[in-house]
């Protein structure tokens, strides 16, 4: 059996009596006070998340951008210091190996840049293996897996920026969406990115493992009168589901192509070639048989991953990929892949929820959009 790793914050989670579980090999908090209360706190104030289980790979060398441009579906060659992009990694058949964030960051020396790839915890080993042969083609590029020597913390919610404002050496107010920079927190280097996985405004931070506890406590201290609460992976899942964001292993896997996942925006085909691009050009031109949709479900019974979606004549037209009670809407919501010809928004479908037939309406997602400030 594989050993379970701790994050630099695992002891703290345990000291708070968080409910813990093994998630992709890490001992992670699922919930502290409860999924619904943590979810609502994130939507109304701010949530603090230990996301140190996410894989962090650092690429250095003169042709690091070329290597990444070759393996990512999104263009990397034109990325400038401080930019973050959401991208996919596809295989030659266009199947999704992972969805990632790639950042271009200033080197600690102040000379030149390096790239940071944040990958899903469950895919980290697979992606490292996938990249090895390509690294051989770029001998001047080094890849370092810095996951275990760093920690990653997200702070998300309408109060997140206000809470973080006093904490960093450089001003964060002018940090744009999907922008990142290297700054300092109490003299310790910190990478901050205006990104997240909740549908809220906020930051994701990467710090050295030994500095994680202090940053975590400083955020809690700074936010104590603004309603910040620690949030576990349970509410992280309900938050991302309401925000319509895909989760690898649910909406994404190697059998899914980016277009049926409605992630065409994360594929730049124009004037470039990369792993999978030839297949992806054809996939883009061919209407997908399946399409990712949102579902608003009647009643209180949630349709979970694997539940079958039927049309009015009881023909199977799709499968649920994620489903849960939505704390914001106070009703069950879900995402599913269904037959494109039956995927019109507003259509009524039937879901087989463990033998019970439940009505649902196809809707667009996100299910929740934050109010702009």
């Amino acid at each position: 059996m594989a050993k379970i790793s701790s994050t630099p914050l695992t002891q703290w989670h345990r000291s708070q009596n968080a409910r813990m579980a093994d998630f992709a090999g890490y001992d992670m908090p699922i919930q502290y006070s409860g999924i619904v209360s943590e979810h609502i706190a994130t939507r109304s104030a701010a949530g603090l998340f230990d996301i140190s289980h996410m894989g962090r790979l650092r690429f250095e060398g003169p042709r690091a951008d070329q290597l990444l441009d070759h393996v990512l579906t999104r263009r990397v060659l034109d990325m400038k210091n401080g930019q973050v992009r959401y991208s996919l990694i596809c295989n030659e058949e266009g199947g999704v190996l992972d969805d990632v964030l790639v950042s271009c960051l200033e080197s600690p020396s102040g000379r030149g840049e390096y790239f940071l790839l944040v990958v899903n915890a469950s895919n980290r080993e697979k992606i490292v293996r996938w990249l090895q042969p390509h690294l051989a083609d770029f001998p001047d590029v080094t890849m370092t897996d810095v996951t275990d020597q760093t920690a990653m913390i997200a702070i998300q919610g309408p109060k997140a920026m206000e809470i973080c404002k006093p904490l960093f050496q450089s001003s964060i107010e002018n940090l744009g969406y999907y922008k990142s920079r290297v700054t300092q927190q109490m003299g310790k280097p910190t990478i901050i990115s205006r990104t997240g996985y909740t549908g809220e405004d906020g930051l994701e931070l990467i710090v050295k493992a030994e500095d994680a506890m202090r940053v975590w406590e400083n955020i809690l201290l700074s936010g104590r009168n603004l309603g910040v609460v620690p949030v576990g992976l349970g509410a992280r899942d309900t938050l991302r589901l309401e925000a319509g964001m895909p989760l690898y292993g649910h909406e994404l896997d190697e059998t899914v192509n980016p277009y049926q996942a409605e992630l065409g925006f994360a594929v730049s085909l124009k004037e470039r070639s990369f792993i999978g691009s030839e297949t992806l050009i054809n996939q883009q031109a061919t209407p997908s048989k399946l399409k990712r949709v949102g579902l608003l479900i009647e009643g209180m019974r949630a349709a979970r991953q694997g539940a079958t979606v039927l049309d009015a004549q009881s023909n199977v037209i799709g499968t649920i990929t994620s489903g849960s009670h939505s704390p914001t809407l106070n009703r069950p919501i879900a995402m599913a892949y269904i037959d494109s010809s039956k995927s019109a928004v507003g259509s009524t479908v039937v879901i087989d929820v463990r033998g019970a037939k439940v009505q649902a309406e196809i809707c667009s997602y996100p299910f929740y959009t934050r109010k702009s400030t």
């Binding site: 699922i30 999924i35 949630a302 009670h325 069950p332």
Partner: protein, 129 residues
């Protein structure tokens, strides 16, 4: 009538039963189970008149995170269900033993009660998990 959790019999799957003098058992789930489940959103009850079997599923309870089957601690016929409970699942958080009862079963095999745990044994199981 108030049900005293110390006087109940418990299944390892966290259901309790309280049997009255006429041989009808009132069934619910323990405070420990409610605490473990958290954020309950749905409960499916059995129909009055159906036969339930000790150790077998009679309904389900759903939290935000997951669905959990409910197992009957006793065998017999369902004579009454707490029909309004699914609309006020918060009762389970405040009073899982009296107001939070789920169903009443006319016991067909009262000797099954002997294989259930008493409060002390059940507490021991919960603290060990």
């Amino acid at each position: 009538m108030t049900i005293d959790p110390k006087a109940l019999r418990y299944a390892s799957t966290h259901e309790w039963v309280s049997v009255d003098s006429s041989g009808v058992g009132t069934v619910g789930i323990s405070a420990f189970a409610v605490e473990e489940l958290t954020d309950l959103v749905f409960m499916a009850l059995p129909k009055v008149g159906v036969k339930v079997v000790a150790g077998e599923e009679f309904g389900e309870v759903e939290s935000v995170k997951a669905v959990s089957p409910l197992y009957s601690p006793v065998s017999g016929e369902v004579v009454e269900v707490h029909a309004s409970l699914p609309d006020q699942l918060e009762i389970l958080g405040t009073d899982p033993y009296t107001q939070g009862w789920i169903m009443k079963v006319k016991l067909s095999a009262p000797s099954e009660l002997d294989s259930l745990m008493d409060f002390e044994a059940y507490e021991k199981q919960c603290s060990g998990s």
